[in-house]
């Protein structure tokens, strides 16, 4: 590996990281705006044109808030928890292929940070680790509300992780690979949402539950638990939890896009088969997939906000019942169905 390759990898990581931070910032703006419009309100309007500078104002405010460390907290874990959850949320994006490849000055750069042959397992490992962040934050704050929030969150995430893991097995059976790049390549003709509609729906529901978003936002149920696991956090530590939640949303949307909506592929047209000779043409062919991918991710982010504006929160026992008695049997049924259809070679 020569030095230029290293620099390119480093640059890719930087660009992806900074883009994600920016998207997270403006996702908060988008959420407030969309929620507002769905409730016939304006949303942010004061800071900048239609509130466009609101995320910056919020960030500055959070930075200058007093950073309180609770006296009775377990200091080390209390400080560690926000970092665990943020790192897990951001690191998940490392294996997501957000484009095909970029040819610049005779050098072909694949548009992904890493092509790990167990990419999907890596993502699930990280999302399981982020449960630790929430549970430890809840426990170390030494507060009954945050402990309840942490416990609920771990129970919820573990139950929904089972069905999320089972729901993608259909995709893995069709692809025969755990690598995200292979999964995207397998969808150049037909997206997996057509072949795996049930798997897609189960994955989507569990994905929302994994992100702790409404209607599955029990860990931070405001009306019962004040704020859930982050009651005792303030200033930048609170902002990290916020950041992680939105980063989680982005990662979850990116995974759904990759697994079921063909990643950066357009329907019916295989962009990677074009090889234009001019530099401009090459740039278009390499940057267009990024645009397509972003558009699909944006679609799911909008869906997340849309669901929040529409549905009330589930009761705790309903949530558990739904996870164990509905989603897991459905996911198992999906696996059996996929296997049978593959044996009779329909899929």
């Amino acid at each position: 590996m020569d030095i230029i390759t290293l620099v390119i990898v480093w640059l890719k990581i930087d660009v992806v990281f900074i883009t994600m931070l920016l998207v997270v910032a403006y996702l908060t703006w988008l959420e407030r705006k969309v929620l507002g419009h769905m409730q016939i309100r304006y949303g942010p309007m004061r800071v900048g044109w239609h509130g466009l500078l609101q995320p910056i104002a919020d960030g500055i405010k959070l930075f200058f808030k007093e950073d309180i460390i609770v006296d009775s907290a377990n200091k080390v874990i209390y400080l560690l928890a926000p970092f665990i959850i943020t790192v897990c949320a951001f690191a998940s994006f490392a294996v997501v292929p957000f484009g095909h490849e970029l040819t610049l000055f005779g050098r072909t750069i694949p548009l992904r940070i890493a092509d790990v042959n167990i990419g999907i397992l890596y993502i699930f490992a990280l999302s399981s680790l982020s449960v630790y962040g929430i549970t430890l934050a809840g426990w170390s704050s030494n507060n009954k509300y945050s402990l309840m929030g942490g416990l609920r969150s771990s129970a919820q995430m573990i139950s929904y992780e089972l069905s999320i893991g089972l729901s993608i097995i259909g995709v893995l059976m069709l692809t025969g690979s755990l690598s995200m790049v292979e999964i995207v390549n397998a969808q150049s003709g037909l997206w997996f949402i057509i072949k795996q509609p049930l798997g897609f729906i189960i994955f989507l529901i569990c994905g929302i539950a994994e992100c702790n978003r409404t209607p599955f936002d029990l860990p931070e149920a405001e009306s019962e638990l004040v704020a859930g696991f982050h009651v005792e956090y303030s200033s930048m530590k609170f902002a990290l939890f916020f950041l992680a939640e939105y980063a989680h949303m982005i990662v979850m949307s990116a995974i759904v896009t990759t697994l079921f909506l063909g990643g950066w592929h357009l329907p019916f047209v295989d962009i990677s088969s074009f090889h234009p000779s001019t530099l401009f043409g090459q740039l278009v062919v390499s940057l267009l997939p990024i645009g397509i991918f972003s558009a699909k991710v944006f679609l799911f982010l909008f869906l997340f906000i849309w669901l929040r504006a529409t549905y009330p929160r589930l009761r705790y026992d309903q949530l558990m019942k739904f996870g164990w008695k509905v989603l897991i049997p459905l996911a198992l049924f999906n696996i059996v169905l996929t296997a049978i259809l593959q044996i009779v070679s329909v899929l």
Partner: protein
């Protein structure tokens, strides 16, 4: 069983359609119901109980005859009146003060007034920085 599940899913879809409808309505055509307060102000209703006003007659003379009925009927006792006699040997209010920090804006004073000298206006932005400025003396109550 299957029927109720389909019904429930249909209800969920109806909910989504409802919120999306509001979203497009607000984004494209409609005006949000929010009033952006400092820029848009609400016009108070004609009988709104706002800040009091002392009236003058057609000759520009104060209508108030200092009968003290308003001060007597006031449930929160926020009206202070000191009476005196003018050069025409008529009774007039030397001091007429309403403590708006204690006033409950019930309007009894306006109802009690036998000469119609007192009126409630639509003015509702009464917050201020000092307690002294919440005491409305005769000059401020006689304002145009």
């Amino acid at each position: 069983m299957v029927g109720s599940v389909i019904k429930a899913i249909w209800a969920l879809i109806c909910g989504l359609r409802e919120t999306l409808g509001y979203f497009f309505e607000t984004t494209i055509f409609g005006k949000p119901i929010t009033q952006r307060y400092p820029e848009e102000r609400r016009e108070p209703y004609p009988r709104f109980h706002g800040l009091h006003k002392l009236l003058r007659d057609d000759n520009g003379k104060e209508k108030c005859v200092a009968c003290c009925l308003c001060a007597t009927v006031c449930p929160s006792q926020c009206i202070t009146i000191e009476t005196a006699e003018n050069e025409n040997h008529e009774k007039y209010a030397k001091l007429y003060e309403i403590d708006s920090s204690r006033c409950i804006f019930c309007g009894y004073c306006v109802e009690a007034c036998p000469v119609g000298a007192l009126l409630m206006t639509g003015e509702y932005e009464l917050a201020d920085y000092t307690r002294e400025s919440l005491m409305y003396n005769k000059e401020r109550l006689l304002r145009e």
